[in-house]
Point group: C2
Chain length 347, copies 2
DNA sequence: ATTAGCACTCTTATCATCAGAGTGCTAATG
DNA sequence: CATTAGCACTCTGATGATAAGAGTGCTAAT
């Protein structure tokens, strides 16, 4: 366990701040002016040598200034940093952007990714509240004529999912009615997970009484059901990658960029909702492509409607203090907005 | 009007091919070996000087080899190139990818952009057949409970558009029925454009007889209607940009990349459906960001269901011959597939 | 414990040099 | 007259030398 003296701590803090803002290695002379106490550059050099021994800062070459190591950022984040109070202007932007009218949870969560990316100039990820407690609350089959039927599924959270299918011969509403009633009788009120399970086993058998050829219908129902039960993951500010990357190699840039389209890989990296706010720096991120970046994740809690996540991806040299303050504020605002939204469907 | 001798034509062709394949300026010595006739490098140099006077090829510096100018590519495309017969393997890929079952036109057209980008390694655009002749063939309002209603709109082409709305107080199907019947009576069978027009004028007045507060409903109907009437534009292989760009500047790359997300700007560049296959090279493209690239557009024709477009964006140094062959084949296959699809709704 | 001073290291920019590739021109050739 | 061999000339790109600037580590003095 590393313990730093007051002065060492101040020096590390100054190095992190300087490097984060200016992007250049920090030398002893420039630190003289920035530190609150009056010391010479030689003293600072001595202290820096100790910090280097501890592995908190490194040189880029033998006689260069120092930059924080991953361990240094870690120490800074864990022991030195204080979350910055969120800027009043930023808070207004958040509240205003979330204040509009939305028709879907997913719209809110997707928009959150965009706002957050605008505020930070980084890339952001948002995950809607977990669906594990979602229950099936309605199912409809709407014949549209022209060999087409739309299947609509509603959950108790107000989520609506639909899909249109082409069928061989036109059906009327009357023919579909017994099927819908069967679903209503047997499955309404069950968690989606249970419905998915039953779909594999009992339902096909029972349904055979109502329909001669249940396969087609089962495909339709299964398809729209799994659409509703899948996790939804949103990415904001993909293009911002170009602002904060120091990757020059176009090949690397491309694979990095395409990672941002692989929502399943990313969902793994972000991990399941946890506690509060987490900072992962450099190789602490479980994806080699991101080993030169930092990831801040925050879990927001919408009571019994589950937990969701927001995250930002940026350079290791990011203004952690401001970012963490911002995440905290966003987390609260988003949770509030969603609670508000759900209130409709709770009555 | 430029006319080239047989030999000059062969030299230009060889320069285009060499540069397209190798990416390096082409010198007189390397051409000696590639030309079918037996001439010395000095002769070729003389011919090249003439081609340069005509503005068909240029030097990158005083003593470099030559590369085709935009005018040179133009001449090559217009007078020399023969469309390459499409590779059997490629044709199979196209037919197989379009062979599956689709539930929507837009799925087919979107998938086309992806296939084409895979086959070419470039960026591709597709535009669904024009909707100007689309007519309204059905409208539904489905109450979902929980303050939600889904509006569904169907056109005679089988296109289905829907949107879910949150409403202040729950309505039953009975209350919505007169509205739906009103729409059915007054608007079914009309072109979407006419419906849009009427929505501005007569409808609000007439509707007042059925509903106390028609504004909410008009918003809903208008929203889903304009969704159905809007042009749909798909982009494939955005990431391929990194393969063929020679842009190094990250700022430029970023604005180029973000252009690929602005479907309306792009739709303008691609232009309305025209005749056959068109090649636009460098500054012939009406967008300054694309002045170092080439665009090949092709119009496909689905009889009375209108015309759509496919396009590929690549470097000016692209294998035009192969690309044009490919576009021709794709154009035919796509038109066939869509005719097939529409046959359902024509009965 | 702190500091001044200095030798040392490494980066970065600038400049000269040189081989390689290609051209244009001239004079010779069929 | 078209073609060709030969040669001087130009430009690129790689390599290496040089010098200024920034920063360090160490020593000796305070």
């Amino acid at each position: 366990m590393i313990t730093l003296t007051e002065r060492q701590s101040l020096i590390l803090k100054a190095i992190v701040r300087d490097y984060t803002e200016g992007g250049n290695p920090v030398g002893s002379k420039s630190l003289v002016q920035e530190l609150p106490m009056k010391v010479s550059s030689a003293t600072i050099r001595n202290e820096m040598a100790r910090l280097e021994d501890l592995g908190l800062i490194v040189k880029t070459h033998l006689s260069s200034g120092r930059i924080p190591s991953i361990k240094g950022y870690r120490y800074y984040v864990d022991h030195i940093l204080k979350p910055e109070k969120v800027d009043g202007q930023d808070l207004k932007v958040i509240q205003h952007s979330l204040g509009g009218e939305f028709h879907k949870i997913d719209e809110i969560v997707a928009q959150s990714a965009d706002i957050l990316s605008q505020l930070t100039s980084y890339t952001t990820f948002t995950l809607r509240p977990e669906l594990k407690d979602s229950r099936l609350s309605g199912f409809r089959l709407v014949p549209l004529g022209n060999h087409q039927v739309m299947a609509i599924l509603v959950t108790n959270n107000g989520d609506v999912e639909n899909q249109t299918f082409t069928i061989p011969n036109d059906l009327t509403g009357d023919e579909l009615e017994p099927v819908v009633r069967f679903i209503d009788d047997q499955l309404i009120g069950l968690p989606l997970q249970d419905v998915l399970r039953k779909l594999q086993k009992e339902i096909p058998l029972k349904l055979a009484k109502y329909l001669q050829d249940p396969d087609g219908f089962l495909d339709i129902f299964g398809s729209v059901l799994s659409k509703a039960a899948s996790e939804r993951f949103y990415v904001g500010g993909k293009l911002n990658l170009f602002n904060y990357t120091n990757q020059q190699n176009p090949k690397e840039l491309q694979s990095l960029y395409s990672l941002l389209d692989q929502t399943d890989s990313l969902a793994n990296v972000i991990g399941p909702p946890g506690q509060h706010i987490q900072v992962r720096i450099g190789n602490e991120i479980t994806n080699d492509l991101l080993k030169d970046y930092s990831l801040i994740t925050a879990t927001y809690d919408v009571d019994r409607h589950g937990k969701g996540m927001i995250a930002i991806l940026g350079p290791t040299a990011m203004p952690y203090s401001r970012m963490i303050g911002l995440m905290g504020a966003f987390q609260r605002e988003l949770a509030r907005k969603l609670l508000d939204y759900y209130r409709y469907f709770d009555e």
